[in-house]
Amino acid sequence: MRVSITVNGEVREAEVWAGESLLTTLRDRLDLPGSKNACEQGECGSCSVLLDDELVCSCLVLAAQADGHEVATVEGLADDGSLHPVQDAFAATGAVQCGFCTPGFVVAAADLLRRVPDPSDDEIREALSGNLCRCTGYQKILDAVHLAVER
């Protein structure tokens, strides 16, 4: 079946399998591999994107459900080559180890700061509770979000 999804502000069309996840569509059909595929059951947050401005796991959205809707992925965060403040802070604090979870964390953190410009430590922890880092680099990730808030 054919779907038409506005991804990072651009209308994109794709031929998808009916049972396909939005994550698969983004990665395999629309050449947007920034959202990562790990658990495919909503446990790890590596595939986090915004669907109509709401943070979701793209592995748990049916591609057909995104038809006619707006999706924002990690690829859309940087503005014309200049990094989003959260991306910049992750680089500055060394909040990246193997890097696999990073796109999901960056999207979730950017979503938090958009809604809550000055979050408490508890609010940051809750907002990132759906993202797993197997390198367990959580402290530096928290440092990065705090730095992004300060800046």
């Binding site: 986090s48 049916l62 459900q65």
Partner: protein, 263 residues
């Protein structure tokens, strides 16, 4: 395999009548996992995301009508959180922000897992499930709607429309046992209402019987209530915990919940 996407409730009911085998998908937090892991290959998916009538909540006289498409994030906010505080607490323990933005109350009822987090707080508020087909609508008390492990009273041609609750506005709470504060399927869970108006204690537990179960007692039975709740459970040993632990935890949680609500 194909996806049907109705744009109105009438269209959704008509499609469900024509295709009773179609699997309803709302937030996708259960259905997508089955698809991703090759556990389900339904011929048809019925995507309910575009059915406006299922979204949000409304008030009809004293009754709150929670649309089947109400998300956990919705249930944590505004009027719903004020009127149904135990449901709001339970919603906040569901998965993660990503899951709470997608998962719905209707989905929790449709899946009918014994671990469904919304079920105990709705049971203690005597919720009624509104279901419909092209044959008409009917209302089923929640405890009758839940008939077994992942089984509910829905007929093949029916859809869940809403959950109807008359908020008791009585002291209430929700508790859940699990290894961390996020991404937890309940080892066991408990909602308690101390209803001074009716002179009644109501508790409902999850993950300790084939279905989430309601237990009631007179308000002066607070001392024996933890034992009554534990006794009403029929838990099993599984990967998340043992039957003995679950029964013990329910006893402890009920005592703590009563302390909290009676304070």
């Amino acid at each position: 395999m194909d996806v049907l996407t109705p744009r109105s409730l009438d269209e959704a009911l008509r499609l469900k009548a024509e295709h009773p085998g179609a699997v309803s998908i709302q937030g996708g937090t259960d259905v997508m996992i089955a698809l991703n892991f090759d556990q389900a290959r339904p011929e048809l998916l019925l995507n309910l995301n575009e059915v406006v009538e299922l979204r949000g909540w409304s008030r009809e006289n004293g009754t709150l009508r929670l649309g089947a498409g109400l998300t956990y994030a919705d249930a944590m906010a505004d009027v719903v959180a004020d009127e149904l505080p135990a449901l709001a607490e339970a919603s906040r323990t569901v998965g993660s922000p990503q899951i709470r933005n997608r998962g719905t109350i209707g989905g929790n009822l449709g899946t009918a897992s014994p671990a469904g987090d919304a079920l105990p707080p709705l049971l203690v508020e005597r919720a009624v499930v509104e279901v419909a087909s092209t044959r008409g609508a009917r209302r089923v008390p929640l405890q009758e709607f839940l008939v077994g492990v992942k089984r509910n009273a829905l007929d093949d041609d029916e859809l869940i429309l809403s959950v109807l609750v008359e908020p008791s506005r009585q002291s209430q709470t929700f508790m859940k046992v699990g290894p961390r504060n996020a991404m937890v399927i309940a080892v066991c869970s408990l909602a308690v209402v101390v209803d001074r108006e009716r002179g009644e204690l109501r508790a409902a537990f999850g993950s300790a019987a084939p279905v989430a179960r309601l237990v009631t007692a007179a308000i002066d039975e607070a001392e024996s209530f933890p034992e009554q709740v534990a006794g009403a459970a029929s838990p099993i040993d599984d990967v998340r915990g043992t039957a003995a632990y679950r029964r013990h935890a329910l006893r402890v949680l009920t005592a703590r919940a009563l302390e909290r609500c009676l304070a």
